[in-house]
Structures are given as C-alpha cells and as structure tokens.
C-alpha cells in the first residue's frame, strides 16, 4: 500500500530507503595497522530461526557458511542467520516450515561486531572467561558467554588469511557500552576501531 504523507512531512516520504541507525555512535580513535580491528556490523540482517533441535545443520555450537550467509547454531533448536537482507530472505523462504518453526527478525534487536586479528583472542581473554584456544574454540565454533558482563552470542569465523575473527552479538541496548569495553580491552594490543 502506498504511504500518503502530509505535505509538511514530505521529506520522510522522499526517503527511498531508510538509514539504519547503529547503536554504536562513537568509536575510539587510535590503534595501529598491526593491531586487531573492531568493526561495527550491527546493520547486517540477523534472523533467528527456531525449530526442533535436529531440524537442520549446523548443530548447536557450530557455524556453517550458506552461500554468502552465515548460519550459527547458537542454542539447541535455535539458529541465527547473518548476512545481507536478500540472502537471509532467500534462506527463510526456502525453509521447511512443516513443523513448529518460528522466524524472528533480530536485525534491530542485536548489535553485532567483528573482532579480528592475531591478537583478537588476547583481547577476548580480558573480558570473557571462555577458553579461546584453537582446540576449544576453533573457527566455526559458536558460543554464548558473558563478555564484559553482557550476555553475548559469539561465532568464530576466521579471516581468509587465517587470522582469528569473532562475530560478537549482544542486545542492541548494550551496543555502545560493549563496543567501548572491547575497544578498551584491546588498547594494549593497538586495537583499531573501524
């Protein structure tokens, strides 16, 4: 249905596409090219699918690339699809909905950051009590943990060059706080905020 907007608010109607407002409004300066990077990816589409625990791959605790999209088994019977809107929509369209399946758009619910670089595990060590070794949390691993006292979902998805990288998602309202906390933890490793 076309939207009719009174004249005085024409500027609103003129917006061909709405600008997504990230919860991260300020980013610390500093860091070096050799240090880890922290990137705000809150604008990525994030879709939660809930179904029977064995309804699809990957299993709980693991991530799987589906085309350009990432699918994370973040809880038993719960998956998070992360990617561009079109990829996520296509994936959802193709879901087998015959059972008890729910699909919830979490794009606006969750802030998401990408922490990457060889020192990234050392940054996480300062704010999260999990074991970030390759044995316990290899690339493709998905965990839920407290990061700087905020409940987060984390997927390790290493960079193409093999450097460790982590997608960290938290409740949107904590976004600025958590971004700052991670950046602060990375100061000693010359972290750069992107």
């Amino acid at each position: 249905m076309p939207i009719s907007i009174p004249k005085e608010n024409a500027s609103v109607a003129d917006q061909a596409s709405l600008t997504f407002e990230s919860p991260v409004l300020t980013k610390p300066k500093g860091g070096s090219d050799s240090g880890p990077t922290l990137e705000d990816l809150s604008g990525l589409t994030k879709t939660v699918i809930r179904a029977e625990p064995n309804a699809m791959d990957p299993p709980f605790g693991q991530a799987l690339a589906v085309g350009d999209m990432l699918l994370c088994g973040q809880r038993p019977g719960e998956w998070l699809a992360v990617g561009e809107a079109s990829d996520c929509a296509a994936f959802v369209d193709g879901l087998d909905r015959s059972g008890h399946v729910s699909v919830i758009d979490h794009t606006h619910s969750r802030a998401m950051f990408r922490l990457s670089g060889s020192a990234a595990p050392k940054v996480l060590e300062k704010i999260c009590s999990l074991d970030w070794s390759d044995a316990m949390t290899p690339t493709g691993a998905v965990v839920s943990a407290s990061v700087a006292k905020v409940t987060c979902d984390i997927a390790r998805v290493d960079s193409d060059d093999g450097a460790p990288a982590y997608l960290i998602a938290c409740d949107r309202s904590f976004g600025q706080y958590l971004f700052d906390a991670i950046a602060d933890a990375g100061t000693e490793f010359d972290l750069r905020a992107l």
């Binding site: 249905m1 979490h106 794009t107 060590e125 316990m136 006292k149 309202s173 600025q176």
Partner: protein, 951 residues
C-alpha cells in the same frame, strides 16, 4: 654516600651505566637501574629502615627478599611497599612509615619499656571492660595501628584482569620451574611460568659461576620458547577447585596490577625454599641477616651489608655466604659451625645495630653483621590449598608433600634436594608428566564440548607418576637457641610470648596462631610458621610432627583490593533515542541497567502539556516477548490469572501474573498479532525474569506445548504518544492503518508503517490515562520516528515527557506499579484485581494459593489516598498508623503532587479495616508529624470512568 657499593660483581643485576637518584626520608640516595630500594639504601649505608609493629624497635633488612618483614616503607602515596622487592626508580620519595616524629627517634619505642606487660591478648584483656568505653579505647588504639599512610585523594589507578586456560601453570621460575616449563612446552603444552621475582633463576641468581651458567642456559631456552608465557614479578596467590589459579601480575605496561584467573589443566609447584631465621636474644637487631640476604646484597646488587661479619652456618649456603663475604673484602670475624657443635646465644649492641655476638662457648665476637644459615621452610601453601597436609621430616628439618595429587605436581626444593643435574632431571620429568596429563584433560574437554575441535581416537591413558624421588639432605634442626628472641618479626611476637600463651592453655597451634597473631602478618607465615611450631612443640614437650602445623590458605602472598577488583564493568543500556535525549537537556535516571530520561527540566509542565495537547515518551525498556506457536493461548492461560483462550487477532488483554504463592510477579498486556503469533509486554524491570518464568513452564511442566518465546525488548524502540491530540499526530505519519476509534479501539493492536518505517506495532494502550498510541518501531529507525513525531506535531504542541511525568500521570490514573505499590508479600487480591483471577480455569500459576487468598479477609488492600491538606505530599514509605497509637496499619507506596488536580495524591497499602472508601487514615511523616488522609472510592484520582483513554 655510596661507600658501601662494591666493585662490579660477576653476577650483578644493576646497570652501572644508568645511575638513578631518589630520596630516603628526604635525603638523597644514589643507585643504579636494577637496584631494589633495599640494595640502594644498603649501598648508601642505611641500616635501619623500619620500626617494629608493637614495640617500635629499630629494624634492618633480615631476608632481603619479598618476604622481608622489616622492609616496609612508604613510596610517595603508596603505603606498605616491600622495599627489598620493589625496584628503585628515579625521583621516588621513599620514607619510613609508622614512625613519629622520625625513624631515628620514634617516641612509641617507649612501648618496649613495658613489653613484659604487652603480652598476647593484652588489648583484649585490658580494654574489655567497661564495654561502654570501648569506642574511646578504639580511637586511641587506632593511632597505634601499623602501616603507611593512605592518601584518600590519590587518583584511582588502573587495575586489569585477564582469563587464561594454559595447559600447565608452573609456580616458580627457579631452575626446577624453568626445567619443568621447558619439558612441558617441548611436549606441546601451553605453559604459563610464574616467577615471584624480577628475574628467572631462583636461588641460582645469587649463586656461584656454575649456578649462573645453569640459570643463563635455562633462561635463554625459556625466553625463546613459543610455548611458554613468562610472568615476572607475579605470584600464584591461590589454587582453588579444578586448578582455578589466581595469579597477580604486579608489573605490567598498562596496569599497576593485573589479576589473571587461570584455569590450569595442571599445576606444577616449584616455589623453592625460604630460608628460616633463627630465634635467639637480639635476633631482630639491624645487621642480623640470613645467608640468602647477604648473598643477594653482595652478588646481585654489589651492596656491602656490613664490614665485619660473624657467620653462623649449618649448611652449604652458610658456607657459601662466608666465602662470598670474604671474597668481597668483608672481614670474617668468626664462622660458627653448628655441624661441629657451635651455636650463638645473643646478639649484642645498641638498638640500631648489632655490635657483637655472644657464642655458646661464652665468648663474644665484635661484628656489625651476623649471618645465620639454619635451614629452610618449604612454602607449601599451594599444596595446602590443593588439599594436602604436608608432613615434617626430621632428617631435612622441613615439611614435604604428603601425597601426590593428580593435577598438582611438586618439584624442586619442595620435593627434595640434590645436585643441579638431579633437580633438573626431576623437574623435566615433572614437566613431561604435567604435559601428558594436560593432554588427557584437553581430550576430555574437547570430546565433551559441542563447539570444540573434533577429537579422534580413544581417550589416552592417564600418565602414571614414575618420577624418581629426589634425595633429602640432612639439615640439623635449629629453631631456637638457648635464649628467647623474636619469632614473628611482622607481628612482634617473641618465643616468650608463645611459651606464655601455651601455658595459658592456647596449646593447639591453630589457637596459638589466632591468640598471639604469630604467622598472621604480611610474611604470611613463610618465615615464622616452622619456628612457631617448634617453640610450641618444645613448650609442650612434643615433636613438631605431633604438634602439626597451621593450614596455609589463600592468598600465598598478600594481594591488594585493587587487584581483586580488577577492571570495573558496569554495563548500561540505552535506547536508540538516547542521542536526542542528551541533546535536549534531559535529566536521566538509572533504572536497573537502563539510562532513562527522567525529565527535560519541568516534569509538571510535561504532564500539563500531555493532558492538554500531546506528549511523547521513550518507553523502550518495556519488556517485549515474541510468542509463536499453536499453544500460545495455553501458555498465556498458565502464566496469567485471567483467560486467554479466545483473544481475537488484533486484540489486546491486560493480565497479572502470580508466583506459586499467589504473590504478584508482573503485569502487562499481550496482543494477538496473528493466528499463532502474540506479543507480550512486561514491566521494564521484569523483562528478564518473565522470560525465564515462561521458559521454565515450557521446559519443565509443559514440554509438549509448541511455543517459542523470544525476547525482543530492544528490537523495538517503544514510543508512547499520549494526549487528546495523539490520534491527530499519529495519523499524520501513518497511512496504512485506520486509526478511527471505531476501527482501532482501546485495547487493540495493529501492524503498520510509521513515518515510512514498516513493520511497526501500534497499540491502543497507555499508562497515562490519556488517549494514547504506543508505537513499537524497529530500533534501527527509532530515532527517525521520534524526530518525525516531533516535527509532524509541532503545531499540535507535541513535547517529550520523561519518566517522572509518566509516573505522575499513572498515579493520577491510579495504575499500580508491581514492585513499588506491591511487594514480595502482596497477593493478587490485594491489588483490587480480584476480578481478573479466574478460578474456573483448569490451572494457572498460583491458583491453589489464590483460591485461599480470595477468601482471606486479612490481606491488605492497595487503595488510593488523598491527604486532608492537599499541599502535603507524604514521602513514599510513610507509615499509616491507628490514630493515637503507633500500631501500623499500612504505608504510602506512591505519592506525588498532581499538576492536573493541583493536590497531593497517593497510593498505599492499608489493612482491610481501613480500606473502605471514606476511611480516615493517620499518616506519620518522616518529620514525625501526623497528618490525616482519606481512602478514595477509586484507584484513579483522575478520570475514573476512563473516558479520556478511550478517546
């Protein structure tokens, strides 16, 4: 001033190319980089550095290491600094502490004159009566408290925290620790090597050329090994269940201290041995030192600790000390060898320095340095914390581990004696064993953890301990001479005190410790425990083994509160509209973790504008749960007290939730968005708890129900648009939803597009009593919609209002707030919501209790209250009492001055006998004044019929 700086020594750790200067009690001190404060002071001829705790006796360095009980000084605003450990820095201001008026003339030394009366328990015995005077006593006694000065204006320093999961933590960086770390790392283990001091090497650092060669070789290998992380100036302060080890890192580029919480698969304890002082008369005179102390001064720092020495030796280390002293030109007045029957009886001389030694043969030898080498204490703390009770071995005159613990291994001096080769071989075997066991644990963890890398093959066998035991060298038992002296230097406890306490009946070592405070000072018993036990054993006529020892508990070494606090994490939550709030003069309030707008300058004006025009408020923290599935109505019926099986699509219903005891848990509205899709709202503070509550019912009681509950609280920015012009305002931004009262009535919900933002939820609900629309907007566009509302409604007089205005309006309307107007005992019937309790339902949470509660005539009632004098607003929590008495009948739970009614309004909980409309109440103000008030007919003070909100 540096006349006591020796020529360059082959193993010295000072850098003579980098001189530094600092002050000691205001006087200049010259030193070099690498000096400790103690070595620089000693090289500058300083012998007295502190006063003892109780008797204020002059003290000099005794052990010249971290544990030295006489080493505490004030450095700038940093009190209680261990000067025999802290490295000297240029321009630091070092001062003696706990002295008045000066270190040389400390007037409190007068305590020593009455020392015979100041025995253990003196304060307790003397000042226990009369009890009423204790505050006065405490004030005076506190001036005698030991320690430095804390400047409360000192800026907060940065302390850091880190977690680690190494395969092996090695406590101790001596030869055994290094060898164990290398062996474990060579086997592929990740190793954290923790060394108390500033260099790796342990006792090899102050040893001979062979010692230094071994230290250099091991250190070189360790430092170049990728699998070993070396932590210097760090201490494993505690070992807890499953090898959870706490490590304090005192030197770090970004923090004054860092606490590392390491979950080690294996812990190797290689903490070495600590040289034990000897108990004899005058043993605390400056110039009395252990052999290790003088060897460190001479060999590591080229500092001359005296000019004429007597060495009392019973072992190789004492002999080596004598050789070192002679080598650097310090006159050896006498070597007294305990192995051939020699003994020392008393240190002679003035208070400020030893001047001679009385020997057991009756002779006296002049000297200004008395060196003792009487054996070792094994610092078995980490083993005690692991559950072991070490046992005493008379042959070696020290304690040893009693048994092996699967995940805690001991090596080095704590495990036995031997040559370099024997110690390194034992440590190497220990490191390999640790690595092998860590690998098994890693395999188990990976196999049991969903996210971990896959493991193949069967679990490896748990490696057995086939290490050859280290030999134990004989050491003569030397604890106390024929005279009495100080046992605990930190606490000023002498052997006489211990004997007296034993005679008083404190003859259990644990009781003796607490009564006399022996072993409870900052040395943590490392120097004192064995001597204390030995003196007690002698007093009881028993052996050390029979007396036993105290249990060493964490921390291994004292730890600062700053290190324990670590980094401060205080998560805060904000809505997407926060930037606008901040730019528009908001006063915020912290509600849980949420930073919320309380008001924008004048909450009363915000109320009036909303009542007259239209206001918007940010209610994002409102809890929101997405419910999907065919059995959602069953879940709602279980959680709420009212009925939910027939809620139509697009409709909204209010409900209250109770716990099993009938106490109100939460309230809110739930709307039906589709056939199997609902959105539940909860109170802002209850969002998390109600999610868990719902999941609890689904997962434990009704797993057969097909319902998915997903929290979406901050997925939507929630904006309440309230006021008589709210429909007009919303209509200017919404075109795909019919907003007319007929099509979109009170207690209905619609999905539509607001200001170009699709997928918004619009609710005809509100908390203010006004016609209102609650908009739930995808949060990535929340600020846009907020600003669009303000822009579109400028001609309507739209203004933002904050939490305070909202709370005033809800009170005017008589809406209670769960947790404020109810408490942990308020059952649902008390809230006036009895009609919402449907006992004809099969079941719901709290039903059995509520069946009874509905019949209970004694429950308090939540009622609206107005004071007789409309100008008086009783403070919330003011008591309501029976007139003329102090019998409590209730309390005011909410109160405000109403800008709409221009009078005071309240909600309160009152006893049923005064709950009827018109009942007169007596309210006690916080001033003590009593005022009268009246119970109102309705909860709502304003628009009780609800005409405004229905629009």
């Amino acid at each position: 001033m540096t006349a006591n700086r020796l020529p360059a020594q082959p193993g010295e750790y000072i850098d003579r190319s980098k001189p530094i200067s600092f002050t000691w009690n205001g006087e200049p001190i010259q030193g070099f980089e690498g000096d400790t404060i103690a070595s620089a002071l000693t090289a500058n001829g300083v012998r007295v550095v502190a006063r003892s705790m109780k008797y204020h006796r002059p003290r000099g360095y005794l052990t010249n290491d971290f544990w030295d009980p006489n080493s505490f000084v004030q450095v700038g605003d940093d009190p209680n600094v261990r000067s025999a450990h802290r490295l000297a820095e240029a321009n630091m201001a070092v001062e003696a502490q706990n002295v008045w008026p000066s270190l040389e003339r400390d007037i409190r030394a007068a305590n020593g004159l009455v020392s015979r009366f100041l025995t253990a328990g003196f304060y307790y015995k003397t000042f226990i009566k009369p009890q009423r005077l204790w505050p006065a006593y405490a004030k005076v006694l506190s001036t005698f408290a030991p320690g430095g000065t804390v400047d409360l204006d000192t800026p907060h320093r940065y302390h850091d925290k880190r977690y680690a999961h190494p395969d092996v933590v090695v406590a101790g960086g001596g030869p055994a620790g290094m060898a164990a770390a290398l062996a474990a790392a060579d086997e592929g283990a990740s190793v954290m090597l923790v060394e108390h001091g500033h260099q790796l090497g342990g006792h090899l650092l102050w040893g001979d050329v062979n010692d230094r060669m071994l230290a250099d070789e091991l250190r070189s290998r360790v430092e170049s090994h990728d699998g070993i992380e070396v932590l210097l100036d760090s201490t494993v302060t505690g070992r807890y269940d499953d090898n959870w080890t706490a490590i304090v890192q005192r030197s770090h580029p970004i923090a004054v201290e860092r606490l590392i919480k390491a979950r080690a698969k294996m812990l190797v304890v290689a903490a070495g041995l600590i040289e034990r002082p000897y108990v004899f008369a005058g043993n605390d005179k400056p110039g009395v030192m252990t052999s290790g102390a003088v060897r460190r001064f001479v060999n590591m720092y080229a500092a001359r600790p005296g000019t004429r020495a007597v060495v009392f030796t019973s072992n190789d280390d004492g002999d080596a000390a004598a050789e070192d002293l002679a080598r650097v030109g310090i006159e050896l007045a006498r070597v007294v060898d305990a192995r051939t029957g020699g003994n020392i009886v008393a240190a002679k001389g003035g208070a400020k320095s030893v001047e001679g030694v009385e020997l057991a043969d009756g002779s006296t030898v002049d000297c200004d340095l008395l060196v003792t080498a009487v054996g070792w204490t094994a610092p078995t703390s980490l083993l005690n914390m692991s559950g072991d009770r070490p046992v005493y071995d008379e042959l070696a005159a020290r304690f040893f581990p009693s048994r092996d613990i699967d995940t805690v291994l001991t090596t080095g001096g704590m495990a036995g004696d031997g040559s370099h080769e024997e110690l390194v071989a034992h440590a190497t075997a220990t490191g390999r064993l640790a690595a092998g066991r860590a690998a098994v644990t890693t395999h188990r963890l990976q196999a049991a953890t969903a996210r971990a890398a896959a493991v193949s093959g069967a679990e490896p066998a748990w490696p057995s301990d086939d290490r050859s035991a280290l030999p134990r060298h004989p050491q003569r038992e030397l604890f106390r001479s024929t005279t009495h002296g100080i046992v605990d230097y930190s606490e000023d406890v002498g052997s006489k005190d211990l004997v007296a306490a034993a005679k008083e009946g404190y003859d259990s070592v644990e009781l003796l410790k607490r009564y006399t405070t022996a072993t409870m000072g900052p040395s943590q018993g490392k120097l004192e425990t064995v001597n204390t036990v030995a003196v007690l054993a002698e007093a009881r006529g028993e052996t050390i083994e029979e007396v036993g020892t105290t249990v060493w508990r964490p921390p291994y070494a004292p730890i600062t509160l700053g290190a324990l606090g670590g980094r401060v994490f205080e998560p805060v939550r904000v809505s997407s509209i926060q930037p606008w709030h901040e730019a528009n003069g908001v006063t915020t309030i912290l509600a849980g973790q949420w930073i919320r707008p309380e008001h924008y300058g004048d909450p009363a004006a915000e109320v009036r504008n909303t009542r007259e025009n239209v206001g918007i408020t940010d209610v994002t923290p409102l809890g929101k749960l997405d419910l999907q599935g065919p059995d959602v109505p069953k879940l709602l019926s279980q959680l709420y007290t009212n009925k939910w099986m027939k809620l139509g699509v697009g409709n909204v219903r209010y409900g209250i939730m109770c716990a099993e005891d009938g106490v109100v848990l939460d309230d809110g509205v739930t709307g039906r968005l589709g056939d199997e899709h609902y959105l539940m709202t909860t109170t802002s503070s209850g969002a998390g708890a109600i999610w868990e509550w719902a999941e609890n019912w689904l997962q434990t009681e009704h797993p057969e129900w097909q319902v998915h509950v997903t929290p979406v609280t901050t997925g939507f920015t929630s904006i309440n648009v309230a006021g008589p012009k709210s429909r007009e305002l919303v209509s200017r931004l919404v075109d795909d939803v019919d907003l007319s009262p007929e099509a979109f009535a009170y207690m209905q919900v619609r999905t539509g597009t607001v200001a170009g933002v699709p997928n918004c939820f619009m609710w005809r609900i509100g908390f203010t009593g006004e016609l209102s629309f609650e908009l739930h907007v995808p949060s990535g566009h929340g600020l846009h919609v907020w600003e669009s509302l303000l822009e579109a409604g400028a001609d309507l007089g739209v203004k933002a209002f904050g939490l305070e205005a909202q709370r005033i309006m809800r009170l005017e309307k008589g809406h209670f707030i769960v947790g404020q107007d109810t408490d942990g005992l308020t059952k649902a019937p008390s809230t006036g919501m009895g009609a919402l309790i449907k006992l004809d339902k099969d079941d719901f949470a709290g039903k059995p209790e509520l069946e009874w509660a509905l019949q209970d005539q004694s429950l308090p009632h939540v009622v609206a209250i107005q004071t007789t004098d409309p100008r008086i607003v009783p403070e919330e929590a003011s008591q309501i009492v029976r007139a003329g008495t102090n019998e409590i009948l209730g309390r005011i739970t909410s109160s405000r001055m109403s800008p709409t009614l221009n009078r005071s309004i309240c909600l309160g909980q009152v006893a049923p006998e005064v709950a009827a409309a018109g009942s007169e109440l007596t309210v006690v103000l916080t001033t003590g004044e009593r005022i009268t008030a009246r119970v109102m007919e309705h909860h709502a003070h304003f628009d009780p019929e609800g005409e405004r909100l229905r629009g």
